[in-house]
Amino acid sequence: MKMATLSRPYVKIGGLESAGGSASPSPLARMRGWLAAWLPAIPLLLLVSTCLIAPVVVLIWQSFTGMGETGLSLDLWFKVLGQRANQDAIATSLFLAAACATVTLIIGAPLAWMISRMLRGSRAFWLGLLNVAANFGGIGLAFAYMATIGSVGMLTLMVQGLGLPFEAPREGSLPALLMAYEYTNIPLFVLLTIPAMSILRDDWWEAAQVAAATRLVFWRRIGVPILAPFLMAGWLLIFTWTLGIYGIAYGLAGQSGATAVHLITLQIGSALQSDVLFGPGRAAILAVVLMVFATTSLILYRVMLRRAMRWL
C-alpha cells in the first residue's frame, strides 16, 4: 500500500516525459524492481495458481452457473441439495467422519499417553509399528481388509473354522469403512499427539498425590483439561482427513455399485463417469460442499491449537 502511494507520482512524471517524446525509465525501473522482488518465486506461484487456485475458483464458479448455459443462480444448488441421494451422501460422510474421529480419540488418546510414558525400547517399537501402519493406505488397505475379514479373509475363515457363524460387515458398509479407516487414522493421531503428552509433567501427578488426589481426580481436574485442546485439535484433523478419503472407500465400496454406501468423495468420483441428470455441475456442488466442511474444520483446528499452545 505504501509502495503504491509512493510510486504513483513517478508514473505521472514518466507519462508526461514520454508524452514529450523522450524515453521514460520509470515504469521500466518499477517493472524491474518488481521482477527483482518476485522473479524467483514466479515458477512456484504459476504452478500453484494454475493447479490449485484456478481449479478451486472454477469449481465454485461452475457450482453457480452449471456448465455455463445459465447465468449466476442458485438453481443448481437447490436442485442438487434437494435430491435424496446427495443429502444422503453429505449426511453419511459427516457421520462417518465424526464416528471415525471419535473412535480414534477414544483409542488413540490412551494409546498415545501410554506410549509416551514407556521405556525407550518399547516406545521405539510402538512408534515403528505405528509408522508402518500409517504408510498402509489406499487400495492396498482396502485389499488388506478383504484379505483379513472379507468373505474368504483370514480372520473370517479362522472364526468359521472354530464352528462359529461369523460374517464380517459387508465390504461397502459403514462399519467396514470405519474399521479400515481406523487402521491409518489411529497411528496418525497417536504420532501427532505424542509430543503434546510431554506437556503433562510427572511432578504434577506427584503433587496431586501429596494433596491426596486419586488417579481419577488427577485426570478429571488436571490431565484432561490441559490435554483437551490438543485432543480436540487431533479430533478435528482426523475429521477433516476422513471426510476427504477416497482410495480406501473406492476400493471397498466402489465395486458394489448402487448398493454401496453414498459418500461425497465417491459421488464426485463417479460423477465423471456418468451423470446425465446434472452433468459435472452436481459434482462441482458436492466438491464445494466438501471444501466448506474441510476448510471450516481446519480453521477450528488452528484455533484449537493456538489455545492449546498456552501451556507451552
Binding site: A37, P40, A41, L44, L45, L47, V48, T50, C51, L52, I53, A54, P55, V56, V58, L59, L129, L130, N131, V132, A133, A134, G137, G138, I139, G140, F143, A144, M146, A147, G153, M154, L157, M158, Y183, L188, L191, L192, P195, A212, T214, T240, W241, G244, I245, Y246, G247, G251, G254, T265, G269, L272, A283, A287, L290, M291, A294, L298, L305, R306
Partner: protein, 298 residues
C-alpha cells in the same frame, strides 16, 4: 491422623486395582498389536498362497505369484510410470520451491504469506476436490492435456509442494541462510554462485527430506491419478482395477497382494529414510502443528 485415614483406603484400592489395570493394559496393547499386524500378515500369506478358500491357513505355499508379478509386463510398466511420475514430481517441486523459499528469506518477505496460504490448500482440501477442479479447469483452458502424463505431473507437483516447502524452509532456518548469503555476497559471490555454493550444500537435509516426501506422496496417490490420469497406468490405478476383478482372472488377488506389499515396501523405506535423515530434528509438516510424522495419508 486425619491424613492417614484418608490415604489408607486409597493405597489399598490402588494395590488391588493395579493388577486389574495391568491386565487391562496388556489386553489393550495385545488387541492393538493384533489389529495392526493381522492384516499385514493376511496380505503376505495371500501373496504366497496356492489356494485359500476354506482353511485358516492357505492350502499350500508357492512363489509363483511373486515370479509372475515381477515378470508381468503391465505391472512393470505401471511401476516405471509411477516411479517416473514421482521422480519428476520431486524434481519439479525442488526446482520451483527452493528459489522461492530462498528469496522470501533474503529479499522479499512478501513471498512467505502467499506461499503459506497456498501450502495450506492441499491440506485443507481433499485431493478428490483438487483433482476434479483441475479436470474442469483444464477442460476449459487446455482440453488437449486431459488424461496426459504432463497434467498429472503438474497436479502431483502442486499437491506435494508443501512437503518440500516446509522441509526446505525449516532447513534454511536451521542453517541461518540469511547470514550465510549475506557473508557470501560480502565476499563478492553472485546470487547464482551463492545459491549453488552456499545455500544448496547447507540445506541438503531439507532437500532430501522434501524430495522423499513428495516422491512418496506422488507414488501412492490414487484420487488425482484416477480422475485426471485416465488412460495412464500407475501402480495405484492398476491395483484399483485388480480389486474389482476378483471373478475375472484367477490369481488376480494373489498378484494384487504382491503389488500391495511392493507398494507398501516402497513407501515404508521412504518414510524410514526420512526418519533416519531427521534424527533429533522434528519435521514440521502441519503449519503450527509441530508434527513429526510424514504426511502419508489417503
Amino acid at each position: 491422623m486425619a491424613m492417614n485415614a484418608a490415604q489408607a483406603p486409597t493405597a489399598a484400592r490402588s494395590g488391588s486395582g493395579r493388577r486389574m489395570s495391568r491386565a487391562a493394559k496388556y489386553l489393550f496393547f495385545g488387541a492393538a498389536l493384533a489389529y495392526f499386524c493381522v492384516p499385514m500378515a493376511a496380505v503376505l500369506l495371500y501373496s504366497l498362497a496356492t489356494r485359500w478358500t476354506a482353511n485358516i491357513l492357505p492350502d499350500g505355499y508357492t512363489l509363483q505369484w511373486w515370479q509372475a508379478t515381477v515378470a508381468d509386463q503391465r505391472i512393470q510398466s505401471a511401476f516405471s510410470t509411477s516411479i517416473s511420475l514421482a521422480t519428476l514430481t520431486a524434481i519439479i517441486d525442488i526446482a520451483v520451491v527452493v528459489p522461492a523459499a530462498y528469496w522470501s528469506r533474503v529479499r522479499n518477505a512478501g513471498i512467505r504469506p502467499v506461499v503459506e496460504v497456498a501450502a495450506a490448500v492441499p491440506f485443507a482440501l481433499p485431493y478428490v476436490v483438487i483433482a476434479f477442479g483441475l479436470m474442469q479447469f483444464s477442460g476449459v483452458v487446455a482440453p488437449q492435456y486431459q488424461g496426459t502424463f504432463v497434467l498429472l505431473v503438474a497436479g502431483h507437483a502442486a499437491i506435494a509442494f508443501p512437503f518440500v516447502y516446509w522441509a526446505v524452509d525449516g532447513a534454511m532456518a536451521a542453517a541461518g541462510i540469511e547470514r550465510l548469503s549475506e557473508t557470501a555476497e560480502a565476499c563478492g559471490a553472485s546470487p547464482f554462485q551463492t545459491l549453488r555454493r552456499v545455500v544448496l550444500p547447507n540445506i541438503s537435509p531439507g532437500l532430501v527430506t522434501g524430495g522423499l516426501l513428495s516422491f512418496a506422496a506422488s507414488f501412492g496417490e490414487f484420487a488425482m491419478a484416477q480422475i485426471i490420469g485416465r488412460g495412464l497406468d500407475t501402480v495405484p490405478l492398476w491395483s484399483a482395477e485388480m480389486i474389482r476383478s476378483y471373478t475375472d482372472t484367477a490369481g488376480s488377488y494373489n498378484r494384487l497382494a504382491v503389488v500391495t506389499l511392493l507398494t507398501f515396501a516402497v513407501l515404508f523405506v521412504l518414510s524410514a529414510l526420512v526418519v533416519y535423515w531427521n534424527r533429533g530434528q522434528t519435521v514440521r509438516l502441519l503449519p503450527g502443528g509441530g508434527a513429526n510424522t510424514e504426511g502419508v495419508r489417503r
